[in-house]
Subunit: 192 residues, 2 copies
């Protein structure tokens, strides 16, 4: 298979867009992130990058915490809006009609309409150039009651929104069909 | 919407599984990661977590670099296999029939069959508990020639594999249908 070099870039074509919530000057604000992720399990830790000039980073520094809200396909418009509009210029909570709730950390606003939410307490802030990366512990995880089946999170009712960015296209997607079962597919490979 | 607390966990239900490549004792080895992500753009930086006991971490420490290989739906069996089998016990390159190539860093093995590959140079290793997180700069990005359309990465031919983990189910998926266009969907929201 012939390979071509393109300028160095983190080309992970599909990601889960996340709505990151902070209080800025004691008011809730949400911004969309197509980056970051899970970086440790015990304790559960997220890495979330913030651009230096982002309104959101001001709130992270004020409170030393933030929330992560996982949107469903129903929130595509709100996810897109919160990615292009700054909380400096408008009240995104009002514009998007977000029903905001707070939890254990008191100052990390969460969006009731998003099926999954977690509160994160900042452990480290690393300046990596264009972005400051927050390494943060997940202290509480919330899920909408209707997204549980037998007490467990259910993909079908969570119905997560995905974002695809490749250069040719940039769109929001739903999850597609099952390709293979995890823990089973690998049994097709024979040990040499 | 009624919310329920579950034990604190990074519940991002859908992720892009990544095949991480390292040389261990000068031999290529690949392991599957369902975590980590993009944490800065300029320079392009990834955060990738490694479990302390992982064979892969030995290779990262030896070479101070690794590769990230983005699989397509065609590699579901190999992705699953490389997530459950250790390179201590078998030669996963032979078992999976991976066609391995090297690039600028000389010791970060890449998989020709994966549509997208990047070489990463480690900047920091952070011990966060269960995992050591590598903060690493992407120095070169490679893409299979047939995945370019007009010189740009094309989602359709990349055809990325996704992994979904929710508790109820744990499977590999393809990307689904388009829900909304990025940069357009948000225009449905009116500024208050």
């Amino acid at each position: 298979m012939s390979k071509v070099n393109i300028p160095p870039v983190v080309l992970i074509p599909v990601r889960s867009p996340l709505l990151v919530g902070v209080n800025v000057d004691s008011k809730p604000n949400f911004s969309t992130y197509g980056a970051g992720g899970h970086v440790s399990s015990s304790p559960p830790i997220m890495a979330v990058p913030f651009m230096h000039q982002r309104h959101t980073l001001k709130g992270v520094r004020e409170n030393n915490n933030f929330s992560v809200n996982v949107p469903s396909t129903k929130q595509a418009n709100e996810v897109d809006y919160c990615g292009v509009v700054s909380g400096r210029d408008t009240d995104k909570v009002l514009d998007c009609k977000f029903d905001v709730f707070y939890g254990e950390l008191k100052t990390a606003p969460m969006i009731s309409q998003c099926p999954v939410n977690f509160e994160c307490r900042v452990l480290h802030l690393l300046d990596l150039g264009s972005h400051v990366v927050a390494i943060a512990e997940v202290v509480k995880t919330y899920i909408s009651e209707e997204c549980l089946t037998d007490g467990k999170p259910d993909m079908e009712t969570i119905n997560p929104l995905l974002v695809g960015m490749t250069g040719v296209s940039s769109s929001y997607y739903a999850l597609g069909g099952e390709v293979a079962e995890r823990g089973v597919a690998g049994k097709e490979i024979k040990r040499g």
